[in-house]
Point group: C2
């Protein structure tokens, strides 16, 4: 792992631990796309991904990172946490570019009941955000 990617990783861990939504803004590329756990269609662009990721980071409690894989600018980061009372295990698949910002992010979680709970919390807020964007 290069020092640059190591720095990115430290910053990512700090952002998630501190729920630093301003810091989060700085590590997302303008053209980022995100594959979110509940939906198939990718969320596109900085504003939408930042909002959705903020909702997820604020909804999952006790975010703890475990195994981490790094190959060049492709990262896979395993985490655990809780959605309400429910345990959750997940993975962030992150693609960086040479600006050291995230251009592609995919998040998958298990089990079903935690995914369902996460979706029920974030979907209404995401819908409200998209409607406000249009108006």
């Amino acid at each position: 792992m290069t020092t640059e990617v190591e720095d990115f990783l430290n910053e990512w861990h700090r952002i998630v631990a501190e729920r630093d939504l301003d810091g989060l803004r700085r590590v997302l590329a303008p053209e980022i796309t995100m594959g979110a756990p509940p939906y198939w269609a990718r969320i596109e662009g900085h504003a939408r991904v930042h909002h959705l990721l903020g909702l997820i980071v604020n909804t999952i409690e006790g975010f703890t990172y475990h195994r981490e894989w790094v190959q060049g600018f492709e990262l896979a980061l395993e985490f655990t946490g809780r959605v309400g009372e429910l345990d959750v295990q997940g993975i962030d698949l992150i693609t960086l570019d040479d600006r050291l910002v995230i251009t592609r992010l995919d998040v998958m979680i298990r089990p079903m009941n935690a995914l369902e709970a996460l979706r029920d919390i974030i979907t209404p807020q995401m819908v409200a955000f998209l409607q406000a964007e249009e108006s």
Copy 2:
């Protein structure tokens, strides 16, 4: 990546592509535990994990592997496929031991509707298997 792990990976790809359930039997450790996409409780032991994994491999069509991360005996393998009409993206987190068999496997998939469809197909069959085991 060592040659041993590379051989394992080639064999894993072959097993999944050919749905080779006998081959699958050989790469699972007796004491394997699996975190399956729908359930939180881990599935324990060779017979149960082999059965569940067989159901998953037979349910997901068009299994294709993409990004793969290897660090020692810890692997993260991204895949896509379909559950019925639904697209699915997933990850296998695999721990090998020095016998080159899987001692721990975690599988996560997105999106929600594909996970739901997978659960609806595999759960009744897994329940039937566990009931037969007990009798």
